[in-house]
């Protein structure tokens, strides 16, 4: 068993999951702030050089898990590890955000899909992309095609 503690908290325009854009064609352009705890400040050194960041966070308002959820993008169930569903064995969320501006302990970002007050576990620089022409997106591509 592994124990984790938050390194900060997310400020977002969403207070309820119903407000977060979901389903086919959903885009994430909402702005928010990653408020990092003061004792972590040195860990932010040089982060402003990166255009995009991975944010790892906790689905703190989900409980339990469902191995075969039906996602909002489809009418059929899929394995949880083939979805971004919140009720996961380990409730960790992963979001790619664009870093707009750093202001001390606050990272102003674009592309949040988390609820206001969500605990942050980690931030990593986004270093490389898989070329889109190499991607296969399984059931999601099929559902979008229907």
């Amino acid at each position: 068993m592994f124990t984790m503690n938050s390194i900060g908290v997310i400020r977002s325009p969403y207070s309820d999951t119903a407000q977060v854009p979901k389903g086919p064609g959903a885009t994430h352009t909402a702005e928010g702030t990653l408020e990092i705890h003061a004792e972590m400040q040195d860990g932010l050194t040089d982060i402003e050089g990166f255009s995009h960041l991975y944010v790892l966070w906790v689905f703190d308002r989900a409980s339990g898990f469902d191995l075969l959820p039906t996602p909002p993008t489809d009418t059929r169930p899929h394995g949880v590890f083939a979805t971004r569903a919140p009720r996961r064995p380990n409730p960790i969320g992963l979001t790619v955000v664009a870093l707009v501006r750093r202001d001390g302990l606050n990272l102003h970002v674009r592309g949040v899909d988390m609820l206001d007050g969500t605990p942050i576990l980690d931030i990593k620089p986004y270093l490389s992309s898989v070329p889109i022409e190499h991607l296969r997106r399984g059931w999601l591509a099929e559902a979008e095609g229907r």
Copy 2:
């Protein structure tokens, strides 16, 4: 505080961090296997439709953390949240792998950079990429240029 449990374990050719390609120009083409625990099997349903996966895992052989590590790609220290360094406040690793083949509970993948026996926390489908022309890579691009 949040507690996490492994959903499986990584089989990789690396038993020591010194064997993992690191530093400027390192590429990750090693093949390995994600061995998922039997009780998680339903969660793998439909995963074979995806060409690439995010693997979230634990740096289980790192201890403590360093907010200003000097990464193998540079001679200067940088904030840990601007690096992929292992000694992090929450020791979670994130790797993008290509899914080669599924064999029941075993996902054969390419692109592992984890040590053999590493605990897996989560797997998510890789759905979209940031276009390379939109990426800025801060200190890493500077270090590569030197």
